[in-house]
């Protein structure tokens, strides 16, 4: 495995009961880069994303085959603690999901859970600054997180993830519930964060994939309704000169 690889997926199959949702995925995810997962609805890209930090463990009836190597260790080995994996591979969801607590407490939660000792105020401030939210909320840290706008809530959720200092951040359509201006703010943030973090982002918006990602993986739904990986390459190559005909058709909008 090349040194630049942080997550290496080998022969991954995901099932919900008898139904196979994702079929035979192999993928290497590069350190400190943005990888976009694109594809039509139901192609399993969100399911696949959730396998990368064992969030699928929480879904009843979900099971996987294959390996997900994170820094050369299979995260599905029986001696691996899922809570540790999730503290190192964070996740941001489609709809902003702040806790019904203050802005400050939303950030502090992850730190407390992981036994943080040190200057909590400073940690909260730094996390909010990293998520480009500090200037907007510094005077009302004790207000409920629900007083923020949707875009601000999503940046709060990103700040909350950053506070735990993960190495990888998974984002499941993080801007699909936001307006265009808030979307651009999230995209700027993603580009900034890749200097320190590895980001895997699921998106329905192809311009977004082109704008923010270094590499793009295109998923499709098969005849049997299982999702599979069609093509994974540099974003520029995928969008200008894809190898697979179906990738080209999808990107040029000839089918969806």
């Amino acid at each position: 495995m090349a040194d630049s690889t942080v997550i290496s997926v080998k022969g991954l199959n995901v099932y919900y009961g008898d139904f196979q949702a994702v079929k035979d995925v192999d993928m290497e995810i590069k350190r400190e880069s943005v990888t976009a997962l694109i594809g039509p609805s139901g192609c399993g890209k969100s399911t696949y994303l959730r396998c990368l930090n064992r969030m699928n463990d929480l879904i009843m009836g979900a099971s996987i085959q294959g390996e997900v190597l994170f820094e050369n260790r299979n995260i599905y080995d029986s001696n691996v603690d899922a809570t540790e994996i999730r503290s190192r591979i964070g996740m941001v969801f489609q709809k902003p999901n702040p806790f019904p607590k203050s802005i400050y407490q939303n950030i502090a939660f992850g730190l407390k859970v992981n036994g943080f000792s040190g200057d909590m105020d400073e940690a909260v401030e730094k996390s909010l600054k990293q998520a480009a939210l500090w200037d907007e909320v510094k005077d009302r840290l004790n207000d409920s997180a629900f007083t923020l706008s949707g875009g601000q809530q999503q940046r709060l959720c990103i700040a909350r993830t950053l506070a735990v200092e993960p190495e990888v951040i998974l984002m499941d359509e993080p801007a699909s519930a936001l307006d265009p201006i808030a979307t651009l703010a999230i995209e700027d943030l993603v580009r900034e964060l890749k200097t320190n973090y590895t980001i895997v982002i699921v998106t329905h918006n192809m311009q977004q994939a082109a704008r923010v990602s270094d590499e793009t993986a295109f998923f499709m739904v098969g005849e049997d309704r299982s999702g599979y990986l069609v093509e994974h390459d540099d974003t520029q190559k995928i969008f200008t000169n894809p190898t697979n005909r179906r990738t080209e058709e999808y990107i040029t909008g000839r089918f969806s």
Binding site: T83, G115, G118, D119, M120, K126, S127, E165, E167
Partner: protein, 301 residues
């Protein structure tokens, strides 16, 4: 990896301690569940051991008798069925109507708040209080000794209706409130008026919740002895009531009656009566669960 940490301070996840705490908490909660289940299991086992030998066709089809060998609970069984039927008849329309009014029509003001709080409080009033209220307003008219309805099925059903109405209202309100606002807006956007929205969009998706709540309220009413004892005055009945204005008895009263007798055989009869009552209760609860599951999957499709 040697990424610069931007946060100063120590992270000490202490996963071993967290695992121990997690396991302890799990055991504690499992134990809490077991206390309830074991208690119920012991009770059922005890009652079954005592009562099963006494359950036979004759027990279900005979009227009470002074001879335990010939005693049955037919009159109590039919009394209970009558009472359930009448109580449901009064409770469902009034309870659901009140719930619809409170959730969909009532203005959000102080008066509504007071009504809501009092409905919740009424659900917690001891049942004997309802029994005495029932005597006061249905058996005798307020303030006079003149008989009004006498101690008949109708008086019992009206009293039990008062008892379970708050429960039905609360359950119905819960399920009406759980209907997503997007359903209402979708219906309004097609030009429906308020009642059409409620009838076409709100009630169908609240239906399973209302039904479940109502059945559970009815099974509470079935098991109530205190208010019905107050209404019936522990009468000895050896006929099946033919209309709502005849005197009656119900299962909990018959059981109470048998338990109070000194002979051991009557105690066993009481156990057998409890089994019959439990079977009815569990059947009703099973129907509630079944209907809830059935309609839930339908509305998700």
């Amino acid at each position: 990896m040697n990424k610069d940490k931007f946060i100063t301070g120590n992270i000490n996840p202490n996963r071993r301690l967290r695992k121990i705490i997690g396991a302890c908490v799990y055991l504690l909660f499992l134990l809490s569940t077991c206390v309830g289940i074991i208690g119920l299991a012991l009770l059922i086992f005890d009652v079954l051991k005592e009562g099963i030998p006494w359950i036979n066709w004759q027990f279900l089809t005979d009227f009470p008798s002074r001879d335990p060998k010939e005693a049955g609970l037919l009159s109590a069984l039919f009394g209970t069925i009558w009472l359930m039927f009448l109580t449901a008849l009064f409770t469902v329309p009034i309870g659901v109507g009140a719930a619809i009014y409170l959730e969909e029509y009532a203005p959000r003001n102080l008066l509504t708040r007071i009504i809501e709080i009092n409905v919740s409080n009424l659900a917690g009033v001891p049942s004997i209080v309802y029994g005495l209220l029932g005597i006061g307003i249905f058996v005798y008219r307020f303030g006079s000794d003149e008989m009004f309805l006498d101690r008949v099925l109708m008086a019992g059903a009206l009293t039990l209706s008062l008892l379970v109405l708050p429960i039905v209202i609360l359950a119905s309100r819960e399920s009406i409130r759980a209907v997503p606002d997007s359903y209402r807006q979708g219906a309004y956007a097609m030009g429906a008026d308020k009642w059409q929205v409620i009838k076409g969009a709100v009630l169908p998706s609240a239906f399973s919740g209302i039904l479940t709540g109502t059945i559970l309220a009815m099974s509470r009413a079935i098991g109530e002895a205190a208010p019905v004892i107050a209404i019936t005055a522990l009468v000895y009945i050896t006929y099946i009531p033919a209309h709502p204005f005849e005197r009656f008895t119900v299962l909990p009263i018959q059981i109470f009656n048998w338990v109070a007798r000194p002979q051991d055989d009557f105690r066993s009869l009481a156990a057998a009566g409890i089994i019959v009552l439990l079977v009815i209760l569990l059947t009703m609860n099973a129907i509630a669960v079944f209907l809830r599951n059935k309609y839930q999957t339908r509305s998700e499709e």
